[in-house]
């Protein structure tokens, strides 16, 4: 595949950004839910 490093870099970057974003949302939600569930 021509330009293979660029192509893989593009796909990896996309997966990394979306993965990090989703992980951030979910972990922050968990943290807040834990805190507001305290009496």
């Amino acid at each position: 595949m021509t330009d293979a490093p660029y192509i893989y870099a593009g796909y990896a970057a996309t997966a990394a950004v979306i993965g990090a974003y989703a992980a951030w949302i979910i972990s922050k939600t968990r943290k807040l839910r834990r805190n507001t569930n305290k009496p």
Partner: protein, 251 residues
């Protein structure tokens, strides 16, 4: 503790499956392009993120902002939806610029060029960055929501103005040639490539929906937490006041 519900579990699986399929189609099954060769595979990421950000994400932000401003439909739901959708849109536009830049490096040999689309997209990115900045004004929740909604509507007005003026500006300077940037940006897609692109658009749309629900919930919980913190602080002030004895006036 689980943050998923039936809806997000279904969407989550759908996202995973369509994304894997898209990756397989994009990287393995679909052919290289005649002109730009394998670089076209990056477009299966670049185009969907651009379309969904512009037409779905920011479209929903605009709509939700309008509904929030209109008295009859005003509710926290619309304000939070507008913000959540815009943030996801911003992430997608960031990806559009990133992947677009990599694609430009392989086809045009440069990481950036002042081509009409890249330029308008960069302005779009900063525009919605500003919108999110308004949503994050510290300490002033009353001001935030309404002003943010108005900024969202203004942003919607601004997008075509920017697009048209930049487009016109750059076409005046763009010499036509076989390898011109315009043509490389619009490959004749047909057959397998068209299906791959369609699949990619579907996959990213489902991803957007999944992210939207999660981000909406986060914003909702954040608001709850802010209100709770405020209520606790007020209660503490009251407790302080009750505990302090009134100064006695001695005659």
């Amino acid at each position: 503790m689980t943050t998923s519900t039936r809806a997000t579990r279904i969407l989550g699986w759908a996202t995973a499956i369509t994304m894997v399929l898209t990756g397989w189609m994009a990287l393995v099954i679909s052919p290289a392009d005649a002109v730009q060769r394998d670089a076209v595979r990056l477009l299966y990421l670049h185009v969907p993120t651009a379309w969904i950000a512009m037409y779905v994400s920011f479209g929903i932000t605009t709509l939700a902002s309008a509904l929030y401003l209109w008295k009859r439909t005003r509710s926290r739901f619309w304000d939070i939806a507008a913000g959540a959708s815009a943030e996801i849109g911003l992430v997608f536009i960031g990806l559009t610029l990133l992947v677009g830049s990599i694609w430009g490096r392989t086809t045009w040999g440069v990481w950036w060029t002042w081509d009409a689309r890249l330029t308008s997209t960069a302005v779009l990115f900063v525009t919605y960055l500003g919108y999110l900045a308004v949503r994050r004004i510290p300490h002033e929740p009353l001001a935030r929501s309404r002003r943010a909604a108005i900024v969202a509507l203004a942003a919607f007005l601004n997008v075509p103005l920017v697009h048209y003026s930049v487009e016109w500006w750059r076409t005046l300077h763009q010499p036509a040639s076989i390898l011109s940037q315009r043509r490389l940006g619009d490959p004749q897609i047909h057959g397998v490539m068209a299906w791959t692109l369609l699949l990619a658009v579907v996959a990213f749309t489902i991803l957007y929906a999944w992210l939207l629900i999660h981000r909406f919930r986060l914003a909702w919980v954040e608001e709850q937490a802010e209100e709770d913190a405020l209520a606790i602080a007020i209660a503490e002030r009251h407790a302080e006041a009750d505990a302090t004895p009134e100064p006695q006036v001695t005659s």
